[in-house]
């Protein structure tokens, strides 16, 4: 599993901790001096992080190499690369997409988190990339559209299809999501692409998530 959008590593770390890669107590030092857990994943510091990230657009290429290497050596392993919607403007994404289709990397799955939040606002307003479905299809990928990335049944069905359905090409899941979903003051904003919560607001946020429809 690789992350084109490495800034979502804060969502990966608790999963890795729960899977036993490192103690959950490490999570409390997130981004503090000498912590292995930074804003972006570092494969040399974080057990379970399959590749370092942080520079947008790199990791689909890395995943092409991983998928090709696994195939060459007869491994049944599969590679999933999670990308951002803003990341779709990087030329390297499409260089990687071309090569994955050319080499028929059916062990590679792309996952695009289309959450509408980028540094300068909604990526579609900054630089439109839609219709992504047509773009990925024309680059030779099987496209699976996940209309609501917050509906767990839909999400499992789409990922299951992408990972387990037989095909002779790579597959991409276009996951439509809402940034900050479930937190009243974050939902659907770009302002919380980056931010920090003081103790009071942290409590408020936990409450909203726990009482809400998700998680």
């Amino acid at each position: 599993f690789t992350m084109g959008k490495g800034h979502a590593a804060i969502g990966l770390y608790p999963v890795l901790a729960d899977m036993g890669f490192f103690p959950t107590s490490d999570l409390d030092n997130y981004t503090r001096l000498f912590s292995p857990l930074g804003d972006h994943p570092d494969m040399k510091k974080v057990m379970g992080a399959d590749f370092s990230s942080g520079s947008i657009g790199h990791n689909l290429s890395v995943s092409v190499g991983m998928a090709a290497g696994l195939k060459l050596q007869g491994s049944p392993g599969r590679v999933v690369c999670m990308m951002g919607d803003g990341e779709q403007t990087e030329g390297q994404i499409w260089e990687a997409a071309i090569s994955a289709a050319h080499w028929k990397l059916n062990n590679l799955v792309g996952l695009v988190d289309i959450n509408g939040a980028g540094s300068d606002g909604d990526p579609q307003e900054t630089m439109a990339t839609e219709p992504l479905k047509d773009k990925w299809a024309s680059f030779g990928w099987d496209v699976i559209v996940l209309d609501d990335g917050h509906d767990l049944d839909q999400t499992f069905a789409c990922l299951n299809k992408a990972l387990n359905e037989p095909r002779d090409k790579p597959a991409v899941v276009l996951a439509y999501t809402v940034a900050g979903k479930g937190v009243s003051f974050m939902e659907g904003t770009w302002q919380w692409h980056l931010g920090f919560l003081g103790p009071k607001d942290l409590e408020r946020t936990y409450e909203e998530i726990e009482n809400g429809v998700i998680g």
Partner: protein, 345 residues
Amino acid sequence: MSKPYMSAELREKIDLTDTTVTEDFDDASWDMVTALALSQQLTTGKTLLDLADAGNDKIVVCTADLGRPTQVVNFGRKYPDRYFNFGIAERNMIGAAAGLATTGLIPIISNYSFFLALMGVENIRNDICYTDLPVKMVGTHSGIAMGFYGTSHHCNEEIGALRAMANLTLMAPCDGNAIRSALTNHIDHPHPIYFRCGRGREAVIYDEPPSFEIGGSNQLRDGDDISILAIGNLVKAALDARDILAKNGIGARIVDMYSINPIDKDAIRRAAGDHKLIVTAEEHNVTGGFGSAVADVIAEEGLGAKLVKIGMPDQYSVLGPPTHLYAHYGLDGEGVAKRVKEALA
């Protein structure tokens, strides 16, 4: 109680129009808008707005989804047809800036330094420097200013790469007034220039726009015993170190060597002539950085001074908040003073 993120006084002064942080929020909470409001020294957008308002209709601004973080978004609001936000597509942006320059416009690229100078190094060389086009590049958040964002967002190598590029002038404005001088003085320079800047939270060194000439430097303080030649954030660290050293009876000359290439050779000759010890200070790998440029001059001219290069060691930084990293790597007043005392011991 949590610690306020910013003073009430500052909160009054800054533009928080777009923030979602309202009065019922915790004082310690912040979103992107409030965080960016602290970057008061990133004056690129303000300066370019002033130049455009004064009649310069050649200015076009380019960014790659970093108009807000590098503070040029207001230029785009006022002059939307002269503002090109390419999305996260740096190499496309650099090539297009070169193309814009061929039509007689003055493109200014404003972007994080690691995505501009490191990711785009070959495009900068082939499209802008080899072609000798008057593109002005403002690389912000250089060095380890991005702190816990980690190595992907640090930029300790670009001086080495950019110094080696023919036709390119490389300068480092150390605060907001220096950025203002840099852009105002050189907007019509007919060749490419790269301005290496910080994250905008630098200490104010200049109360008004300083002298900022290609191949120049600004001596800020004189001293009898040593010279500290500094760039960027380390100018403030050098000034702080000078105060500490003064208590130990050591007098330090402090020079802001903002022009990295070409470099002010006279300032280095004067330092070597007056002092046995020259200290260079930069937020960059000491291998191939500003200190190496000073070393070239000392060696080539046979100047008889010992050189101590302060900067990032030749390794990738640990993670942490920026100020914690500066202290850890000795890139603050105390760190610089300590290295000077060790060298003199």
